[in-house]
Symmetry: C2
Subunit: 340 residues, 2 copies
DNA sequence: GCAGGTAAGTAAAACGTGTCAATCCGTTAT
DNA sequence: ATAACGGATTGACACGTTTTACTTACCTGC
């Protein structure tokens, strides 16, 4: 008798066991799960009841094998410890979670080998699409994905192929806004503390800054190029400015600005009384700085959400999906470091 | 003629197409992929050659359906925007990537509903194991995972069931080390600016601090409890201390310390000359603060790596796996905020 | 009362891989 | 020379779900 107990043999509960217990066929259970509108209300309720009683959990592997696509997407960023990317990742994760998707997060660590490995891994997992901040331009490392019909959305990077969405922030406008603000405050001798100009963001912000300066007669932009975007480099860069202080300093990033601020305060230079100071990114942690930092806020979290939404739209409707390049406008956040 | 072209019908290349092209059976191709040692060197080379020529990518869904387990693990944290968790996530991701695993990252946003949803989702995806910082104690929300034989490792939290690994940092020792350092510097009237004491970490650090104070005659600990662990709360908390300044202030976290520092400097209180100040966590971004902050460093990245390693060990060898509770010792990092 | 239509549910065939018993073939021991 | 052996390979089935074509029952309009 006990040996003929059905559905409890090995403890694993599948669609079949549910069907048996609910007195329907497996196909109907599948319909309840995937197209509930096609099954009568009564049956649907009974099946759902059994599902929760038995603690049935759908097998995602079987599901995506048969259906040809699952509920997974990939997210590949440069660095999981960088606040910019994590805020972005938070946006992506929130939206995907709302939509019932799981996110495989991976880091390329700005290494092309690792990027390739990740791309392969994502392809194997059969992800529905991938959000990516590519390591570098050049030959198309995402080819493998495109061949397999896996959609990609570029994050904080212009699209590299015609048929592709991208989401980024207008760094030229950001640089312009920043310097225009400094000019408005009366500054004329302005310094730009940049990161490496090979980084697109740094170069674009510089371009915007130059544009703003040219619009005001008598204004000039000095430049110092730091070797990376850290507080330490900012501090070193500031030393080049101590001999002849400018009216205002615009930094390519908040971390640089923190370093500059530290160098200035150590030398007894008062901010903002003697020098105005601006950062970029408006990272959360600068609120703790000795002088509250004026900055350019980028909607990183929103960036992630929008990009995620675009990706899903493309996945759900690959036929008539219009690829778009979304360009966010950054926002000026004024605090005490530029307020006399 | 063209109609009999095998293996190119629908453009999708599977194990069968590879087998055909290499002149072996699908079973052999599978063996090359999973147990290369069982197939002769010559055959193996030929198969691998064909695999790369045809651009074969294994179907992970089919693989894990048949094998009963895949190359996926889950990571669930409270908040993807918190540097503590992201540093930890970076450690997990690095190790998993080295071992060929993909990581599904999700955030519980300290909501039990979302935690439950994530648990279910991870179970559906058939993850091999899960690394988790649980939202709260009480009834076992991870039951679903354990029923299905999915291993879990607790992150920064003691194990809640006997058969479970956990990785955390000794917060009592950390609190003790911090305050012992302040005492050594000559402070006797010490204030502890805490977060909510319902948070285990805050309570443990307090316990350690008290222990240190009791060991030195004449020393005393005042306490202020902030409502959360942000710079803003730190600033508010500091105002309770301005009337009668202590010799030193120990904060439950660097963000609080940043707020306290700001409040002190605004009032013209010099750090460290008048008051010593200590934080906790040693987050990267405090290096940018006006006064470099002494702190207690937690090996967050290593924490992630070790936890990941434990999880894989448990997965690969569930039989004779000895569950362990690993307790890291935090490290004192002395900077100018406690150096006269 | 009957043809035609629709809604609800069923049965069975896939999806692409892993596994295991079975087979093949060349080598060694008797 | 034959039997026993062992390594290399094969063939076919199973994993749990989705999906398609099909059946059944019921309703509508003439």
């Amino acid at each position: 008798m006990a040996s003929s107990d059905p559905g409890q043999r090995d403890g694993t509960i599948g669609i079949k066991e549910v069907a048996l217990a609910a007195g329907v066929s497996p196909g109907t259970v599948s319909n309840v799960l995937n197209r509930p509108e096609r099954v009568a209300a009564g049956t649907r309720a009974r099946v759902m009841q059994v599902i929760s009683e038995l603690g049935f959990v759908r097998n995602g592997s079987a599901s995506s094998l048969r259906a040809g696509q699952g509920k997974l997407v990939g997210l590949m960023v440069h660095d999981l410890a960088n606040p910019f990317f994590t805020s972005l990742a938070a946006g992506v994760e929130d939206l995907m979670s709302e939509r019932g998707y799981a996110v495989i997060v991976c880091s390329s660590a700005t290494s092309v080998e690792r990027e390739d490995r990740n791309v392969r891994m994502l392809a194997e997992q059969g992800v529905r699409g991938v959000l990516v901040t590519p390591v570098q331009d050049g030959r198309d490392r995402l080819k493998l994905l495109h061949e397999r019909g896996i959609g990609t959305v570029m994050l904080d990077h212009a699209a590299t192929r015609a048929q592709q969405c991208s989401v980024s922030v207008d760094d030229i406008a950001g640089g312009h806004t920043a310097v225009a603000h400094l000019l408005e405050q009366g500054a004329r001798d302005i310094a730009y503390v940049s990161g490496p100009l090979t980084i697109r963001q740094c170069a674009d912000r510089r371009a915007g800054a130059l544009k703003a300066v040219r619009q005001v007669p008598g204004a000039a932009l000095r430049e110092v190029e730091a070797s990376d975007l850290t507080p330490r480099s900012g501090q070193e860069a500031a030393e080049h400015l101590l001999a002849e202080l400018p009216d205002a300093i615009f930094c390519a990033n908040d971390l640089l600005a923190m370093g500059v601020l530290r160098a200035l305060l150590q030398q007894g230079v008062r901010v903002p009384e003697r020098v105005l100071l601006m950062g970029y990114d408006d990272i959360e942690f600068t609120t703790a700085s000795a002088v509250q930092l004026t900055s350019i806020r980028q909607p990183t979290y929103q960036l992630g959400r929008i990009a995620a939404e675009l990706l899903l739209e493309e996945c759900d409707n690959p036929a008539d999906h219009a690829h778009q390049e979304i360009l966010f406008q950054p926002e000026l956040v004024i605090r005490e470091s530029t307020t006399r």
